[in-house]
């Protein structure tokens, strides 16, 4: 039965082959400028599937089958790549520089025009605890990892434009490998710290009526007089929620990128990289403001996060409502020294 079926097919093919050979001979002998080849000869080689539609499919990124097992290998042309390249190279790279440079120069200009916010009244010398040891540990853990990740991330995006031309190749290679590995391995540690910080400080950061008035007065930057504020003012709460939302965005997208062993597609990685870069660059630009206000911008602010204690004068000026609530806890510098020396009992006895 099978052989019977086979014969007509083979016969047909052989006949067609012979016909094709015979017909093709005179045509091949002709010069290239001669008349077009016989259509029946063409049939012998033409694949009916090679049509304009086929090429349209190829250009459109249609998937087929392949023996290669590498991810995305069944697609001839991955069209999303060009869009990603455009987003990354034409928008995010220059956009990030504008954001970072803009933020830094705005702060510098502000510093030149307004200068440091000084204490209105002289220091009283009495200290109030603002940030506990745990708070400060979390803050500096997250802050130092943030700076390391920001610097290495910045290098991964921009270093090829300013470091590659000046470093010898071997040094450049080692430098970038270190940048990538530091970024990838410290990322999850940053994620843990960020999560703890968000949870620990959430109760301080609920917006209320006081914050509305604080915003209405522009946080005291414009004009005289300080608007009232509790433990944290409106601006600090904005920074907290910025860190929460952008931080979580950056952390989640970062974890997707950090573990490519779950078979993420190229398209997923492209989108995630764009989200990661935009979130991180906004956060970096905003962090300049936080760093300025917390250090050079405000007299007496940095010691709160450094030692945990702030001066009464500073507390009254910047966080009057909080000060009213905790001013009975204020201790003198000697008591603070004693406390730090490990004699809390003696210090408490004096107060």
């Amino acid at each position: 039965m099978k052989t019977c079926k086979r014969n007509p097919g083979w016969f047909g093919l052989v006949a067609l082959l012979l016909a094709g050979c015979l017909l093709s001979l005179p045509v091949v002998a002709q010069s290239q400028g001669g008349p077009p080849a016989d259509a029946r000869q063409e049939l012998m080689q033409a694949l009916p599937g090679v049509t304009s539609d086929y090429w349209r499919d190829v250009k459109g990124g249609v998937s087929g089958t392949t023996s290669s097992t590498s991810p995305g290998a069944d697609t001839l042309i991955m069209v999303e790549g060009e869009t990603w390249r455009e987003w990354r190279n034409n928008w995010i790279s220059p956009g990030g520089l504008i954001a970072l440079g803009g933020s830094a120069s705005a702060i510098f200009l502000f510093w030149l025009l307004v200068g440091q916010v000084k204490l209105d009244k002289p220091r009283t010398g009495r200290k109030i605890e603002r940030w506990s040891r745990i708070d400060r540990t979390i803050h500096w853990y997250v802050a130092s990892l943030f700076i390391i990740l920001a610097v290495t991330g910045f290098l991964l995006l921009y270093a090829k434009w300013f470091l590659a031309p000046i470093l010898p190749n071997s040094l450049w290679a080692g430098f970038m490998i270190a940048a990538k590995n530091i970024h990838n391995y410290l990322g999850p540690l940053f994620a843990l710290g960020l999560l703890v910080m968000i949870i620990k400080w959430m109760r301080h950061n609920v917006f209320n009526r006081v914050d509305l008035k604080w915003f209405a007065k522009g946080g005291g930057i414009v004009g005289k007089g300080h608007p009232s504020a509790g433990f944290l003012n409106g601006g600090e709460k904005v920074w907290y929620w910025l860190v929460t939302f952008l931080g979580l965005t950056v952390v989640i997208s970062g974890l997707v990128l950090d573990f490519p062993n779950f078979g993420q597609s190229r398209e997923t990685m492209q989108t995630t990289l764009i989200i990661h870069a935009i979130g991180a660059l906004i956060l970096m630009a905003a962090s300049f403001g936080h760093i300025y206000i917390g250090t050079a911008g405000t007299e007496g602010a940095f010691e709160g996060m450094k030692t945990g204690y702030v001066d009464e004068a500073w507390a009254e000026q910047h966080h009057d409502l909080w000060y009213e609530a905790v001013k009975h806890e204020a201790i003198s510098e000697e008591e603070l020294e004693a406390l730090k020396a490990g004699q809390p009992a003696a210090a408490e006895a004096k107060t």
Partner: protein, 212 residues
């Protein structure tokens, strides 16, 4: 200097994967890495199945080079895009940008971290003075010896052409002329009114023959 090009004549590719095997053998690439692959669209569908062999196409405006954070890619005088494995950090950006899925990564580190990228070099090796080291890192450098990439050299139907762009174009132009109709380059008889039925018949005949 010659401008090197690959061209896969889709009218001729029969999905034999000879090029894939030749490439693997010439370059002795790592396990799991396949610099060249054959993709078949509409696999098994009579009259529309077409295969194409694809690898790095050595683009004039290479997306991999544009997005690489370490600038490890460089164009050669022959128009090839080669890369320096010493500088590669295995970030995978070239893979995300490349339309052809050419960059390949060995899985080396923990948590799926990628090793150094590997891709088709047009059998032109890479940036390494010592020939033994060059072969170990980048595979064969056949171009140096005046030979063309092994995939194209071994293609049984000569569907895959590699070499100087003008030579490749001449060969392909000759084929198109012999094909004898205006769509001979990138489209088949289906585009030619009146010949569609003939093409269909031929395809059916050939399919019958192959199946029996």
């Amino acid at each position: 200097m010659a401008r090197m090009k690959f061209l896969c004549d889709s009218e001729r590719c029969i999905d034999c994967n000879g090029c894939v095997t030749a490439c693997k053998n010439a370059n002795e690439v790592e396990w799991g890495i396949q610099r060249r692959r054959v993709v078949t669209l509409d696999d098994g569908e009579v009259g529309s199945e077409v295969s194409i062999s694809v690898a790095c196409m050595h683009c004039s405006d290479a997306p991999c080079m544009a997005v690489c954070p370490t600038d490890c890619f460089y164009p050669t005088e022959e128009g090839l895009i080669l890369h320096n494995k010493d500088t590669c950090i295995g970030c995978g950006y070239c893979l995300y940008a490349c339309p052809f899925g050419a960059p390949q990564f060995p899985k080396q580190g923990a948590f799926g971290a990628r090793g150094k990228m590997d891709k088709c070099t047009f059998c032109a090796g890479g940036p390494e003075e010592d020939p033994a080291l060059e072969e170990q890192k980048y595979g064969a450098n056949r171009l140096k010896d005046g030979k063309l990439p092994l995939c194209a050299e071994m293609c049984s139907t000569k569907a895959l052409l590699a070499g100087d762009a003008t030579e490749v174009a001449d060969i392909f132009r000759e084929r198109v002329v012999y094909r004898g109709h205006k769509n001979g380059a990138w489209g088949s008889l289906n585009q030619e009114p009146g010949l569609t039925d003939l093409a269909q018949q031929a395809a059916e005949l050939a399919t019958d023959a192959a199946r029996s």
